[in-house]
Point group: C3
Chain length 426, copies 3
């Protein structure tokens, strides 16, 4: 039942221990593992200092080790135990400090005392450690050795890109991020589900070209857009930002800025039929790379598909967002939603009936001889499809008008085309 989910979960498990950030070897290692899954994935390096609109590529950060040793000589915080223990982009340090001074560099969550928070400081030089609040409260006064063996130097920003050509140059776009250390839902669910989608896309006869990117959030999408904007604006007909797609709770969708693009309408259609209890967020609730894809002047038709949205679940941005939070079933559910969205995009042609008045279905054997509830519904759907296939509506619009999932109409479309009763205007 969850064969695909099991495979996605296994990949997430493999990627979990790697210490990723917005740059560095953790990202490279992650991308090489994804490349082993999808050979067409190309890895790009963009040098530190390169301009990207109002931004520039930051220095590259790498870390080898980090720890804190308490007054009794015990190693109480250890990067080797959890890479969340170190503030992301911490500059190197190796000294002895008092507890008071140490406290200024510690981060914990009084309201979630057993969770290690996830903290970064990309654009201001700092160092720091994260720990559970429970542990923090036990720290005795005295002298502490703090050691962070990191480098923050000229290097590059790394991202992955898959281009799967289709019959037309128009593109469907998928974006997911790789920039968080060991977190499962708000990091690995996205790239692993998207990798599985890419594997499936390789097996189908694609109408559209597919552009799939694995990038660090914010700076990565800005850098990617700065290098590809004209081509993307010209080709992309719909896109999705894929994030937080691994838990077993909600399904959700966050609208593009415009709110009614093809990407929005397909996501609403698919979730509305598959998971009618899904949450629809407005662009005002945004928080991931749609902020860049939909920004003024960029204006790509990109919506987000999620299970429980980032920031809306208690484990978000803590050590509790681990491999227990996501499941094979949760990941597979998201995979199926995204796949359905793509199937709908692929089949969304403008249709026109070829005869005036209702066709005579009987003489073509289109009325099933065995009358069951299911066949009665199929006849109803076929008649409704024929009634609205007036050359002004796409299959998605017809499906929304007649209130049935688009995928139930696709086989009927094929049958009616075979009979010469329906033609595509696309």
């Amino acid at each position: 039942m969850t064969e695909i989910g099991d495979s996605i979960y296994a990949l997430a498990k493999e990627l979990f221990p790697i210490c990723r950030s917005i740059t560095g070897n953790g990202v490279r290692k992650t991308l090489r593992i994804l490349q082993a899954e999808v050979g067409m994935l190309e890895i790009h390096e963009v040098p530190t200092g390169q301009k990207a609109f109002d931004w520039e590529v930051p220095r590259e950060w790498n870390i080898r080790d980090a720890y804190v040793i308490d007054p009794t000589g015990e190693k109480i915080i250890d990067f080797q135990q959890s890479n969340l223990n170190v503030v992301g982009y911490s500059v190197p340090v190796d000294k002895v400090v008092s507890l008071d001074e140490l406290q200024e560099h510690l981060h914990s969550l009084p309201e979630q005392p057993n969770a290690i928070p996830y903290i970064t400081s990309y654009y201001q030089e700092r160092w720091g450690f994260c720990l559970t609040h429970t542990q923090r409260e036990t720290l005795p006064p005295g002298q502490y050795r703090v050691m962070i063996n990191s480098e923050l130097e000229k290097g590059s920003l790394t991202y992955g890109e898959i281009i799967l050509p289709g019959r037309v140059s128009e593109e469907v776009f998928l974006s997911t991020y790789i920039c968080h250390p060991s977190m499962a839902n708000n990091e690995l669910s996205g790239p692993t589900v998207v990798t599985q989608i890419a594997k499936w896309l390789q097996t189908i006869d694609r109408h559209y070209t597919y552009r799939i990117v694995f990038i660090p959030e914010t700076i990565g999408s800005i850098v990617y857009l700065s290098r590809n904007l004209d081509e993307m604006k010209q080709n992309i007909i719909a896109g999705y930002n894929i994030t937080c797609v691994g838990d077993d709770r909600n399904y959700s969708y966050l609208a593009s800025r415009q709110g009614d693009t093809l990407a929005d309408r397909v996501a609403q259609h698919v979730l509305g039929h598959m998971h009618p209890e899904f949450t629809a967020y407005s662009y005002l609730d945004r928080g991931s790379d749609e902020r860049q894809y939909c920004s003024p002047g960029v204006d790509l038709p990109v919506a987000s598909i999620m299970r429980t949205k980032y920031g809306e679940y208690p484990e978000y941005h803590t050590s509790l967002d681990n491999l227990d939070l996501v499941s094979a079933a949760g990941l597979q559910g998201a995979y199926e939603v995204i796949r359905r969205c793509i199937e709908c995009l692929e089949a969304n042609e403008t249709l026109r009936v070829t005869v005036r008045c209702e066709p005579q279905l009987g003489k073509r054997g289109l009325y099933p001889t065995l009358s069951t509830k299911r066949t009665a519904e199929m006849v109803r759907d076929m008649m409704n499809l024929l009634a609205y296939a007036d050359g002004s509506r796409t299959l998605l619009e017809i499906a929304d008008t007649i209130g049935v999932p688009m995928w139930e109409l696709i086989p009927i479309v094929h049958r009616l085309k075979d009979e010469g009763l329906l033609e595509s205007l696309t």
Copy 2:
């Protein structure tokens, strides 16, 4: 109070016994009776085999007699008792069969054991009898004589058409069907009410031309469209399919495919004010000739006006849909609704006030000297009419904006035109 309804009911009673089908002498006889009411009704014959879009005119069916004789020699099912006893379009048969074989040709309704169902088989050759389920359960084993004296041969499809010329060539269209045997609401209420409308239309000064058709359902409207489509598309500004307009229960309206044509807006306005509890059906609930009139490429502005909709009342398509189900009051109610719709269409001109700012009504005696609730409302309606008669709105749109029935504004429009304060842009 129901003088007009009594007259409609009397006509329905006269037509009730005739055995109609989608072709044949029953239709001709029915049309000749209607012709006696409205001399301008023209009867058309379309030969078997003539193409009509995806269809062709079927063979003509006529029946003289039919019965079943039970093992004891008793005539237990008899066409002379009720023409519903025979499946419509039954091929001739005259033989002796066992009860088991007979059962394969019998139709009854276990859930309505005292009703004879109405069954047809136009496009597949069969024979069969209909009876009450109560009777069916009493049939003893043994040999039964089955006899159907019918003909299914080349002939023609018959329909009636009335054209009442108006001052302009633009047309209002009314369609009703004549193809069911002895059923009162789902057959005779339509043609009898429409005949009464035609009689009234002959007496008025018509702005529009009126096209009124009496046709067999489905194949009749398809045939009629195939012969008149270009002219109809060019001229028809609004039309109604009239069916099931004889009972005393609901009023209802079924939208055109487009949903907001002039026909829709007028029907909603009239029913909304006369019978605010009316049911509004979507085109997805369609089931009569609007299926053809609104089909892609035909796209006529045709909605349906009904009392209780076909399929929504228990007596539908059974022998219980008889002369007790309809009433003079029920028929007259529908007549009044349709007449109001036509009056609204006739008066629906675009209006513009001729002066800037509010006119001085006092100096023209347009403020009533006697102030009552009714005159206060008239002044309010007059001021509102003047406020919205800006040359961009028809009287219907003004009436909908200011929330009053259009027919209460018509005398005010006449008065204001007489005073030179209002002009028509139509």
Copy 3:
């Protein structure tokens, strides 16, 4: 706290005793007092008989004294006590009449027995007195002396006009009326609040030109429009009719005829944020000079701003609409709403962000270093403003989209313009 309100109230108190009507010396005296407040106010006289669309300027009415003396010789009704005691535009009379004949000329309110009603008869020659119903019921039979020392002669209609030039010729329009005798809310609240607005407008750097009129209701707006229509249609971008703005109860807004003009959207925005419980009336509820400003062919974008609407409070058009009904706080509240509307109109430019993707706010110090709830909201508002400043929206539209008061965005706009991140397309 109510310094401005106190000043408005003091002016209303000074104007209260004057006997105004649609013409005459009361209007002139009122305008001269307002002129003392705003020197730029110009007083215009339009001669009796001058045509104004469907109307003409009526004769001028002036009154010196009026009273009724009862059979015992007592002066029981006295214009000197209250100018509401005389029907407005009463023709002169001086005779002795029976109680029965007197009754035909008396007006009182049985349901508000202690209120003197306000009655006029501008366009039909009459005379009459108004009194409390309590007093009327005590009148003994006998002979009464009735005396009205008035004049109804050729003269002129008087109105006031202030034009405050701005940087552009496009105009914001304010209209209020001066035609009622001693009534506080439904007369003096309007001109006194608008006078205070005019004083404030003189102190600011105006983008728009301001046209402010003090006119008699109905005939005054018709006359004013007949003299200025072309210029007004060309220049006015938004306007408000200001009436009944002095009580402490509701706030309300009455839509323009079109309903969604800039004036409507600004009023709804301002009241929606300042007084979300405000009442929104439709143009169908109209009753003041918007009837003329929005009439077909005039079509100015003029809405009304009120506190409790005329006709919606029990003291309306009676002697109970006195200086106790209005308050400094009530008047100041309305002043603040109107001023906010003007501030929004002045700041309502079309905005476009100058960079692609989100700007890097950190490097410009636009992220506050002190993080409080208020600064977090400011950052959120700034990001949302940047996200929607796409060159297709005005600041008002952005504010409505992101759900914050426009005036909270104005300082952010200034800051972002200083940083070169935002530009105006207006």
